[in-house]
Subunit: 328 residues, 2 copies
């Protein structure tokens, strides 16, 4: 029997979940829920109903896990606890500082309803968290490094778009190769913000805007750019759409540590992602976590979980026997 | 209260466990068990008793988890089920083809005794298995690659030592850089055995041995060398001991896969280990798994597990709250 998946929110992430569910042999897409007018939503999968989010509760017995495609700023803090009261839910909440609070809210709602809520699934938080957790458990005496990119930062692109005179923009976060090599050398470097990443911006100006003033405003923007070496390119909107419409991303998690009676042995653990599509990869992680949510609830468990709590085998459609035989 | 660890077998792996337990804030080393004469064992940690393996059962209430340092060929198939009848146990059983049988034997013994047995902990099987399992669950449409090295293969070194005229030898397995780059390019290459790894041998001859004959016998040895490009260096025993006594190892696990309505987006997951000491790193993984074994039994669970079954947070000495707040 297939696991019946619902999707709430049909943006980039929701569309990625649709692709991942269709690629999973043990799942079927049961419904897409939207806060927009359902008739305005163009789905990729034929025959799947698009339903108003307000009517979701009526689908309680037809959905095994609801995957939330909303954003961390305003959607998920409200939606994840709310829908955990009805369904098993999975989200990609990524505001690191607010995770404990979000966890507590989802845990309360899920325990009351007897459901499972898995929060903060994706790659950071998510796969990068797993890489950090395993590496810290194995090498307690060591040092962590996380690098992001090369990839598009939506937050930084948005920040540029808010500048007067800017029509459109795309910002790439780029790890500094020399910093990666310093970490890989095992020399435990102390790295400043500027030494770890550079920022490259492709900007389309409004007619008559002052390029020099825009460039200065970008480079001096606190938090976003002032601590980085930033390059600004002014290009046409046609070039931006042609060459910078994709959403690649990725990054690196390292832990370097020592063992030995005199700490004489160095070890380096490196986990690296190179992703053509940030939302589709994130959606693939969410979908694997939905499988785990369903299994945990079938066992009679309830409450909030993160990927750090999930037995890895629960993410796989393969049986534990099969994994042991062919993959261990 | 500390987790009380016992070690069975005081070779390279057992000594590595001793180091890892001493580095763990929540563990203490309670005893070392040996099949040798206990008075012949020189421990690094003062005050810890060395006990004959035959008397281990008397330690049932003084040991929370027994970590087995034995080999997969003859020690562990017998010892792990036997001691799972007394203690929670952790081993590094690495004969991939015999894992299902070993699992069944340990599972039976552990369920009968109400203990937990975690088998095949280390890096391959172990961390590499986890990398494969997660990546397969996330990217079901993809391709796996595992490379080993650069590192010392004990099995291949032993095979050379068995050749007539060879006094001592050390063999390094080396991944081919061009093959790694082909995988990282996302081109999904089909790679032969010869294209993935080379083998480099450092050989000390007996007096009067025929170097050309030894080199030919190494290079033509089926399974071990005949499918590889192999280099043989003849060196003095003094040079071998000076430059080739360490046990470095490591390797790479890749999964490359696609998502998208038309499979148009490529993703590359890479997990890489660079280890100065293969036995000490393996021992560090075993020690983290001992923590998980103890927690699972405290929950009332019993039976056999592998790392694929362990919630990652159970490997860490930090609380779930702490991990969520600082590391997720």
């Amino acid at each position: 029997m297939s696991i019946r998946i619902g999707i709430l929110g049909y943006g980039n992430l929701g569309k990625g979940v649709e692709i991942a569910v269709n690629a999973a042999p043990d799942m079927e897409l049961a419904a897409v829920f939207t806060r927009r007018d359902p008739s305005s939503v163009q789905k990729q999968t034929a025959g799947v109903p698009v339903v108003s989010a307000a009517e979701a509760a009526a689908w309680k017995d037809r959905i095994d896990v609801l995957i939330l495609g909303g954003g961390s700023a305003t959607d998920l803090p409200e939606q994840t606890p709310q829908f955990a009261g009805i369904f098993n839910v999975v989200d990609s909440f990524d505001t690191h500082a607010r995770i404990p609070e979000h966890f507590a809210n989802v845990d309360r709602a899920a325990k009351e309803a007897g459901t499972i809520g898995i929060i903060s699934c994706g790659w950071d938080p998510g796969m990068f968290s797993l890489a950090r957790a395993y590496a810290n458990a194995i090498l307690p005496d060591g040092k962590d490094y996380t690098f992001w990119g090369k990839g598009v930062s939506q937050g930084h692109s948005d920040a540029i778009r808010r500048i007067k005179g800017v029509k459109n923009a795309r910002q790439y976060t780029i790890p500094v190769e020399a910093a990666l090599e310093a970490v890989r050398s095992g020399s435990d470097p102390e790295l400043t913000t500027r030494q770890k990443h550079t920022r490259e911006c492709f900007v389309v100006l409004e007619d008559g805007a002052d390029a020099a003033a825009v460039e200065k405003e970008i480079k001096e923007m606190p938090n976003y750019f002032s601590d980085y070496d930033t390059t600004v390119h002014f290009i046409s909107e046609e070039e931006l759409l042609r060459n910078h419409s994709a959403l690649p991303h990725g990054g690196f998690v390292f832990r370097t540590g020592s063992t030995g009676a005199a700490k004489e042995h160095r070890h380096i653990i490196e986990y690296k992602l190179t992703l053509d599509s940030n939302p589709e990869f994130t959606a693939s992680v969410l979908t694997a976590c939905a499988r785990a949510a369903w299994r945990l609830q079938q066992e009679g468990q309830s409450g909030c979980r993160t990927m750090l709590d999930l037995p890895p085998a629960y993410l796989s459609e393969r049986s534990a026997e099969d994994l042991r035989k062919h993959l261990l």
